[in-house]
């Protein structure tokens, strides 16, 4: 947990941004299969949080998880190789975009499934690595799943040190939040006696400062916490499937950190931007040249 500099944060934001944009390009060019959910517009969430996490903390990510991964591990090549099914992928191409696993990090593609799992990991951490926490990312739409409430209830009852990070981008696939969520996320947390913090804006430094004490409290008290980020999805849900109006998209663009930071320090931003763009380009070239991944199944299924 060495404090990152402003430049580190900017690099991290831009790495994710360029990574995601290149993914969409690769899709458009027919070089990718399956589906991919980019976090364009939401990069600041994991970038703000990651330095607040320690090595023993466990991150549970979801379908929109590239940013969560890249902010925690500086490993764009491993991620891209995974998505492209090339040698060196995080999970040898078996998991793909939505199913990543490393020590202390797991993502899966079934909405809501991760929260009860997170409670279990958190209970184990409290026993064996006290002071460590679980961070579980979910979207606003995922609050439709019953598993979320079963987990919140148990987390509160048993004081599971879990931080649920909600990336509330106002939409679930094509469904606006008003159409899928009654009441409020904050109100729902209150109903379970769980602390809830609302975060607006995308100033990484300010967010981090505001959240640090609340996260520390989870470490010491063991009480769960929900942090709700009001954010914006800049891109399509996966690829090309955006049904929002130009007006809505324009609002998402206006809220983006990219032009704001570019205007704030044009020169250093441009330098960083170029650096990360080039870095991602190099990663793409590297990974693209690799052979297909190999699935080293060392176990017989159902032996």
């Amino acid at each position: 947990m060495t404090a990152p500099t402003l430049d580190d944060d900017l690099d991290s934001l831009l790495l994710i941004r360029h990574f995601e944009q290149r993914l969409l390009d690769l899709f458009a060019a027919g070089e990718l299969n399956g589906t991919t959910h980019t976090c364009l517009g939401q990069e600041h969430v994991p970038v703000a949080l990651s330095p607040l996490l320690a090595e023993d903390d466990f991150v549970l990510s979801n379908h929109r998880g590239h940013g969560h991964y890249l902010a925690r591990y500086d490993d764009p090549a491993g991620l891209l190789a995974e998505i492209m099914g090339r040698r060196g992928g995080v999970c040898d191409g078996v998991g793909g975009s939505q199913h990543l696993f490393r020590d202390g990090y797991l993502s899966t593609g079934v909405q809501g499934e991760s929260l009860p799992v997170g409670v279990g990991i958190a209970l184990s951490l409290r026993r064996r690595k006290p002071g460590s926490v679980v961070v579980a990312y979910i979207g606003d739409g995922t609050w439709g799943e019953g598993a979320v409430y079963e987990a919140l209830n148990m987390a509160a009852l048993w004081r599971a040190p879990m931080i649920v990070v909600v990336e509330h981008n106002g939409i679930a696939q094509t469904t606006p939040t008003e159409a899928h969520l009654a009441g409020t996320i904050g109100g729902r947390c209150a109903g379970f006696g769980i602390r809830h913090r609302l975060v607006e804006g995308n100033d990484v430094t300010a967010i981090r400062a505001a959240l640090a004490p609340a996260i520390s409290l989870v470490r010491t008290s063991g009480e769960p916490l929900v942090v709700e980020f009001r954010t914006h999805r800049l891109g399509p849900h996966s690829k090309g499937d955006d049904t929002r109006s130009e007006q809505e998209l324009e609002a998402a663009r206006r809220a983006d950190w990219y032009p704001r930071l570019a205007a704030a320090a044009p020169e250093s931003f441009a330098a960083a931007d170029g650096r990360q763009r080039d870095r991602v380009a190099a990663v793409v070239d590297d990974v693209r040249a690799r052979p297909a991944s190999e699935w080293r199944r060392q176990w017989p299924a159902n032996e």
């Binding site: 299969n33 399956g34 589906t35 492209m84 099914g85 992928g89 191409g93 078996v94 998991g95 793909g96 975009s97 939505q98 199913h99 899966t108 593609g109 079934v110 909405q111 809501g112 739409g141 995922t142 609050w143 439709g144 799943e145 019953g146 679930a172 696939q173 094509t174 469904t175 159409a179 899928h180 969520l181 499937d241 049904t243 297909a292 991944s293 699935w295 199944r297 299924a301 159902n302």
Partner: protein, 336 residues
């Protein structure tokens, strides 16, 4: 209709079904226009039948429950579950509520809930979006299972499922969506399809001479294309003539229409695109062994996917899914 793709035929069927009865409702995630569902099967429905289409939160168990309530109140209800893997979230409502309610109150309580879901791999969606969950639901009393095929008009199949009064699940192999809806008639130079028992009976795919079949393949709609490729290969490489039977209804499985052909064939092969064991393949094989004992010259060959998750990378998917080569090998080895 000429030139239609399967997803278009499905979509047309859904339009017909909502149109024929204003009490028929459709629920699902992201089913509204302009999107019309993750695979676009529900396109146009919400525009044309705004009162009959309900876009839901992400709540698979809850949605099927709501459908069950509507069905209990007398509606016909179609539910779209976005990926077959997520059906597992709704098993309590499907098995413990829908299927059991038909009979557990001592008299027949008809429940017209039909759950549709895309299934299978081949699209690189990864292990939680590619499973074939059919096997989990076979043999549930009062639950009907059907699978989409390029030969059966989805409209007829869904209408039947909606009308019979037992809840049902309709499996739609993702790969099929964009393939041509074929119906009856010539498929290519080799194959032709017939529906001898009508629009709900099995499709029979032949190379022209059904009498002299060396190999009979029985498979659901999602596998038919791979079976045809295997059949072509068996002819070319081994000079074996193949007939393929594609039932629309997976369960309850009606063995009658296949017994004749199975009794005559040198090799009978049942193919399913999910892991073996406690699934459709063994169930069909057991029925055939029992019904045709003494007539079969060798055990029914079952071909299934490898017992594994469906990996994300396309080249790895092919190591797990059933492909034509696996069928060819299994049939060929059985003949030797």
């Amino acid at each position: 209709m000429a030139g239609e793709r399967v997803v278009e035929a499905l979509n047309r069927g859904l339009h017909d079904l909502l149109g024929r009865d204003p009490g028929t409702l459709l629920l699902g995630e992201d089913v509204l226009d302009p999107y019309g569902g993750a695979f676009r099967a529900t396109k146009g429905l919400s525009t044309r039948f705004p009162d009959q289409v309900l876009s839901t939160p992400i709540s698979e168990n809850g949605i099927v429950g709501v459908a069950n309530g509507l069905a209990l109140a007398g509606h016909r209800v179609l539910v779209e579950v976005m990926f077959g893997d997520f059906l597992l979230l709704a098993f309590d409502q499907i098995v413990n509520f829908a299927a059991k309610s038909v009979s557990m109150y001592g008299r027949r309580v008809p429940l017209r809930t039909v759950v549709r879901c895309p299934v299978g791999g081949g699209r690189g969606y990864g292990p939680t979006h590619s499973q074939n969950p059919q096997k989990h639901l076979i043999g549930v009393p009062h639950l009907a299972l059907a699978e989409m095929s390029a030969f059966h008009d989805p409209r007829h199949v869904l209408a039947d499922l909606l009308d019979r009064g037992d809840p049902a699940v309709f499996f739609e192999d993702k790969i099929l969506y964009t393939q041509p809806a074929r119906g009856e008639g010539r498929i290519d130079q080799l194959w032709a399809a017939e529906l001898p028992a009508g629009p709900l009976g099995p499709a029979v795919l032949t190379m022209g001479r059904p009498e002299s079949t060396d190999c009979l393949i029985i498979c659901p709609g999602g596998v038919a294309d791979r079976a045809m490729r295997a059949g072509a290969e068996l002819l070319l490489r081994h000079e074996l003539e193949t007939q393929i039977i594609v039932p629309s209804r997976l369960w309850p499985f009606d063995a009658k229409p296949v017994l004749d052909a199975a009794g005559r064939a040198a090799v009978v092969c049942v193919v399913e695109d999910g892991p073996a064991g406690g699934g459709w393949g063994a169930a069909v094989a057991h029925e055939l062994h029992t019904a045709l004992w003494g007539q079969l010259s060798r055990p029914v060959v079952t071909v299934a996917a490898e017992p594994e998750v469906i990996p994300a990378a396309p080249h790895l998917e092919e190591t797990v899914r059933v492909g034509p080569a696996k069928i060819v090998t299994a049939v060929w080895e059985a003949t030797r």
